[in-house]
């Protein structure tokens, strides 16, 4: 556990010193959310209908873009090698990286999403569900995305390849996430989609870190 905390502090220090990752994720999220209303024009009713989807797609993209360097910088400069040679199990380091990624992307998104929802004129009652669905969905995004980042290590194709590989796997998160908000907007119960999101999260937490660790070991071989 202490090792995990040490490793987590390392990651967060690196991210913060790289000049504010978290703030960038939020800003990117806001910009993406702005794109749609601009394209659609000011048809307010239309906007409110697509709002949950737009917010989820924007969140997805923000997380995806911040994924690219989860392992690749460390891989290129030799730090990943050094981490893999540490006397601690590599999975602890991987978990720390995943956690720090969520803390600096998913968590800030969760906090920003309601603000965007207000700009899109979503009813206040649906905000709670939005936040809850993000709380369940974004960790899953970080986990699945981390696996993608590990699998594409050394490909030098960057974010495009990674996003393309990861997107199909995070579709369920998108679908249930927007379904939850849509239900809440229309006054229905959002329980089922939220439960499904929770199930996805549970499954990914259980299996993804192990595979990610293995993927990293073999990328270093």
């Amino acid at each position: 556990m202490t090792v995990f905390i040490v490793a987590l502090r390392r990651e967060i220090k690196i991210i913060v010193r790289q000049a504010g990752d978290a703030s960038l994720v939020i800003m990117f999220f806001v910009v993406i959310s702005v794109l749609f209303p601009l394209g659609i024009g000011s048809k307010i009713d239309l906007l409110a209908q697509v709002a949950p989807t737009v917010i989820w797609v924007a969140a997805l993209l923000s997380v995806l873009l911040s994924l690219e360097h989860m392992f690749s910088r460390d891989f290129e400069d030799g730090s990943l090698e050094q981490l893999a040679l540490s006397p601690q199990p590599l999975i602890v380091v991987v978990l720390a990286k995943l956690a720090s990624h969520w803390l600096t992307s998913g968590l800030p998104l969760m906090v920003t999403a309601p603000v965007i929802a207000i700009l899109y004129n979503l009813p206040n009652a649906s905000l709670q569900v939005l936040i809850l669905s993000m709380a369940l969905g974004t960790p899953a995004l970080s986990l699945i995305g981390g696996l993608g980042a590990a699998l594409t290590l050394g490909t030098r194709r960057g974010g495009l390849l990674l996003s393309f590989l990861v997107l199909p796997f995070v579709l369920p998160v998108l679908i249930f996430g927007s379904a939850a908000s849509n239900a809440a907007i229309n006054g229905l119960s959002a329980e089922t989609p939220l439960l499904l999101l929770g199930a996805i999260l549970a499954v990914t937490i259980a299996i993804v870190p192990v595979i990610t660790t293995a993927a990293i070991r073999q990328a270093l071989d």
Partner: protein, 211 residues
């Protein structure tokens, strides 16, 4: 026989680089890996570190295969590879501190400063690593060796980019390490002024078989 490899073979891509290679190293010994460019020095060092696995043969650490309990092996060893593994936006000091944190949480600030000072970096240890010159970065990577205690040092061309002062710091460090019973493996292209060393010429094991 504390660190032994027997009958090792290594394949990269579809090319067998070397085969039938053996080595053995006892406490306090230094092994130099020599051989022309591309003969497989780096590849062998990575096998020894446990970063990759030999296609044939085994590597034993005190009689046990290093792949049996890799974490234990990693704990005994410090590896300094071709790349310096420094984050450009962190200072030399911070880089070393982060590195030691995972291996030896109890390392104090003084110990870190002393390690950097061993390689003459005291005056620049507050600079972001990205500002340092190539030789200064190499020194910062080597300072890892003296910041934690490890029995086995694996060094891949450690003198690259170092000036004469830095080289002598390194040789002193290796000398002290030997005296304390440490083992050292050095892959190098240039002759180093270290005495009483074993030499393993990789040129003798080149296999070149494509699979």
């Amino acid at each position: 026989m504390d660190f032994v490899g027997s009958n090792l073979a290594c394949v990269r891509g579809n090319l067998e680089i070397f085969s039938g290679l053996s080595f053995s190293l006892e406490l306090g010994e230094v092994l130099m890996l020599t051989g022309s460019n591309g003969s497989g020095k780096t590849s062998l060092l990575r096998l020894m570190a446990g970063l990759s696995r030999p296609t044939k043969g085994v590597i034993l650490w005190q009689g046990r295969s290093i792949s049996a309990d890799p974490e234990e092996h990693f704990g005994q060893m410090t590896y300094v590879g071709h790349s310096d593994a420094l984050k450009p936006y962190l200072t030399a000091f911070e880089n070393l501190a982060l590195w030691t944190a995972i291996r030896k949480p109890a390392c104090t600030k003084d110990q870190l400063v002393k390690a950097l000072d061993t390689f003459g970096l005291k005056s620049v240890m507050g600079k972001p690593a990205g500002y340092l010159s190539a030789g200064q970065r190499r020194r910062a990577a080597l300072a890892r060796l003296v910041s934690v205690d490890a029995t086995l040092w694996l060094l891949d061309e450690p003198t690259i980019g170092l000036d004469d002062h830095a080289c002598s710091y390194l040789f002193d460090a290796i000398h002290n390490h030997r005296k304390k019973g440490g083992m050292t493996v050095i892959a190098t292209n240039v002759a180093l002024p270290l005495r009483e060393t074993q030499t393993l010429d990789l040129g003798a094991y080149i296999s070149g078989i494509t699979q």
